[in-house]
Every structure is written in C-alpha cells, then in structure tokens.
Amino acid sequence: MPHQCTTCGKVFPDGSKEMLSGCPSCGGNKFQFKPASSTGGPAGDSDNAPQTGGAGTRDLTSSAADAVRERAEQSQSRPGGDDDTMTVSDWANARTTSESADSGQSKQPNRSAGKSTGSSNTAKPSSNTTEPNDSNRPPAESNDTAGSEHTRQTPDAPKQQKREWGEWPAAPDDSQSGDSNRRETQNQQPSNASDERRRDSVKRQPNRINARETDEDNSQKSARSEVVSPEELAAADANRRESVETPVDPETAQQPVETAPTERQSGTAPNDAPTDTDGTVIEPSSDDRPNLDQLREELNDQFESIKIVNPGQYELNLMELYDRDEYIISLREDGRYVIEVPDSWGPGERED
C-alpha cells in the first residue's frame, strides 16, 4: 500500500490512478507515501502518519527529503566503484535500508531540512544523544519498519548510527553536513557490512527491487503534482513558515526577500511559491523584482490607506491613515513605502 490519503486514511495500491483527481472517499488531495516495506502494521502507520504538522507538513517534509536525496547524490563521492552505477533512488533506498531499524530516525534530518517545527526536532534528539538504547524510543518508531524487506542488519548498527544522528538536530540548519556525516559513518564503520552487502545486492538486482520503489516514488510525485495546486502548496508553505521560529533551511535564506515595509506577506504572494515542493522541480531563486504593477497591487492590498493609481496619482483613505499606528513617511519611486513605527512612548519623539 504505497499511498495513503492523509485525511481519511484510505490506502491506494501502487500505481493507482484513482487518487490523481483526489481521494474518492473524502476528496482529500494529500497523500503520503508508504513503501511496501513499511506495511508492517499499525505501529509503522502511526510513525508515517503526519505527526507534527498535519498533511501540509508531511507533504513538504517528504519533498525536502527528496531534495536532500538529490543533493546528496550530486555531492556523493564515496569510494568504491559500485556506486558509479547507482541511481539516486538506489542510493536513497540503500540508505533507507541501512537506517531501516528506525525509519522515523531516518526522516529526522529531512524534517530539519524541511524546516519543520522546532519541537519535533528537539524532542527526539535528546533521547538519541543521551540514551541510545532502543528502549527509550517510542514504540511506534522501534516497530516502524519491522516488516521491512531489508532488515538484515546487525543489531549494533542502529545504535552506532543513532549516536551520529544525535548531533544533527543540534545544527538543524545544516542538513548538508548532517548528510555527509551520515555518509562518512557508513563508509568508516566496518560494522556496516550488512549495509554494504545490501548495497551490493542493490547493484546486482536493480530491476527486481529498486526499480519498483523508483516507480512508486515517481507515481507519488506524479500524484502530488497532479493534484495539489501551486496555490495550495504556497499556502501550506506560508503556514509552515509561520510556525517556524527561525529559518533553518539554506534555501529559505536564498529566497529573495521582497517584503514591502511591513513584511506581512500574504501566503498567496507570488514570491511565496515553494521553491522545493516536489524535490524535482526547484524554482530558481530569482532576484528579479516583480513588475511594478504587481508590486503596486500587493502594496495596495497591504496599505489600503494609500492607493497608487499610477505614478504620481494617489488615492488616500484618510481614516486608514489616521488609524494607523505607524505612518508612512516616504513613498519610493518604485511604489514602496517607508514607514515609521512609532515608539511606544510617542511623546518622547518630540523635538522639545
């Protein structure tokens, strides 16, 4: 059951076209990807279910996961010729397998990359760093991929890897370094023989196992891109940003900040389009400014007090101007405002 509606929980078989136009049961249009290997039971389901931020968070988190995989693949320089022929999904699958003892753990760095809420980042790592024992983990995680087809792993491996992963949340904004740490761990830990063995098997049997998962991944992406409109993703992205105290993803920092004076952008602003919603389509972070008409429209929405009809032509709403705490002290040529937010102790501003 690779796909599951995040609203009603209805499960769709691999390759199903039903959900391309939304969930026939509830009309929901967000689905989560459930690899065939994670059909082990309710525990696994609960872990895969959107726990922290609802469907939108889950959706974007998995998108970020895709992006991390791609970046990891691009910067991948592992020794050993066997990696030369691996595809991204092969590598990702191999990695997922090596981490399969706890798929919740494997998602953790991706959540960080996906700018998830701080609480979800800080809650789990504490248990990882202080007590690597499995008993400290929630049952949902420990049982998550019990039914995985790639569970041939030494019992020590999860613990060693968890020690390394425990550091990621400490620097949640550095998903790249976290990723490289993880690869180094894989390379330097001889105890990961099972991992290497599995990777070899991946290479030797690419068509039998991983081609199928690649198809699943693609169908998931396809379904997402078919169903979820860009507006919805933008809205979800905006909501998610609001819930994040500090940006943790470098991509966010690269976003051109086109805020006008108040920085109160609506979620539907064109600049808020998600840059990495699907993991495969990364919109360039353009520094081009929107055309002036567009900008004026935005500003007019924000500042009903002054409507810029055309350059040099203004309509003013006196009541709005009067009611504002801050006041506009300068209008720029490009239609922007400079405002002054009055000091709480207004009379102190007087030049007495």
């Binding site: 040099g312 032509q313 101007l321």
Partner: protein, 213 residues
C-alpha cells in the same frame, strides 16, 4: 533597572506635558489644499515673532511637510497664550500630478510633488492623531465647504475632543461666502478672515487666546 528608570522618566514627561499649564499648546492648522493655511501660519508667526514659517504659493500642495513654529505668544484682551503652530500639508483624498502640470511644471517635478504631497497628507494625519492639542481648521470661503475631506477631518477632530476653530479664509475675494461655512458646521465657531490681507486678525487672535488659552 536603567530601563525601568527610563520608563518612569518617560511617564513623568508625558504626565507633565498633559497637565502642565505652562507648556505651549500645539495647535495644528488643518484644511484642504490651497485654503491658505501657510499664509495664515505666516501671518500669525510674523505678527508675534517676526519670522515666517514657510513659503506660500498659489500652487496646491506647496506645503508638503509639516512645519512648526514654537513658542508663539499671543496676547489679547488680557488673555495670554503660548502656542506651537504646526502648519500641515493640505489634506485631500486624491493627489494627481496632472493638476500641477497646469502650473507650468515639468512632468517629473509634478510627479515628485504629487508623491511628496501624498506623504504630506500621511504626515498631517499622523500629527492629528498624535501631536496636536487643538486645531484651527482653515477653509477657503469661496468654495463649497461640504466635502468628503472636510466632513471626515472635522469628524475626526470632534472624535478626539480637540478644541477646534473654523477659519473662513479669503474673505477679501468676491466669491467669499462665510455664511455657507457657518451653516455647514454650526457646532463650531466660525471666524472669518483674510490671512493674505490681514483682515479681521484681531478677532482671530482673540478667539485663539480664548479657545487655546
């Protein structure tokens, strides 16, 4: 602790300002563009301090930043009042650079003037909310006083419980009709004058001393 001390000092200053009798009242001169606000402000300032406040012009929106003349002492009929005069940009709901083109202005200059005038309106509204203790509302008595701007501004002033005097300016012009203004705003005292010619300034000062003293 330093922060608390600062806060306490700030509060003290505010309270002192509110209740101090000797503190000059800040009187805003408001009105639509080209009503003669700056002419009036200059007249008052010249009469009592010898200085002017700002340039006057027949082109609307000549005053695009609020200007202030402090400590103007006005004495009439045994009453003495010290005021800060704030000459504000003309308030309007529309600013169009094409209006300035009629006054032989280049387009670039007209557009800039328009933008600055808009800023001026915003500033005037800000002053009205934050920084004035009383209002002199100047109207061109040759024009219809019933307008959206006038009605709204006077309504705002009333809602603030600010003392207000309505000055019917330009009575030196033939088309002047003071009665129309008095009828439009019967709840307020209307004083006729010509700031340009200095007509009826005695009554103007008497009313200022009476209302804002």
């Amino acid at each position: 602790m330093g922060l608390l001390t600062d806060l306490r000092d700030s509060i003290s200053r505010v309270v002192d300002r509110l209740f101090s009798e000797s503190e000059p009242k800040r009187i805003g001169i408001y009105g639509p563009p080209n009503a003669g606000k700056t002419t009036l402000a200059n007249r008052i300032a010249r009469d009592w301090t010898g200085d002017a406040i700002g340039p006057e012009s027949h082109i609307p929106h000549e005053t695009r930043r609020a200007r202030r003349k402090e400590n103007v002492e006005i004495e009439r009929n045994g009453k003495k009042v010290t005021i800060d005069i704030v000459d504000t940009p003309g308030v309007t709901t529309k600013v169009d650079y094409k209006e300035f083109l009629e006054h032989d202005m280049e387009k670039d200059d007209a557009v800039r003037r328009s933008r600055e005038a808009t800023e001026g309106v915003a500033e005037a509204m800000h002053w009205l909310r934050e920084d004035v203790d009383g209002v002199v509302y100047v109207l061109d008595s040759t024009k219809d006083p019933i307008s959206q701007v006038n009605t709204m501004l006077i309504g705002i002033i009333e809602s603030q419980d600010l003392p207000v005097l309505i000055f019917a300016n330009k009575i030196d012009l033939e088309d002047s009709n003071v009665e129309r203004i008095a009828n439009a705003y019967p709840q307020h005292e209307t004083v006729e004058l010509s700031a340009l010619e200095g007509e009826n300034m005695d009554e103007v000062y008497a009313k200022i001393a009476e209302y804002f003293g």
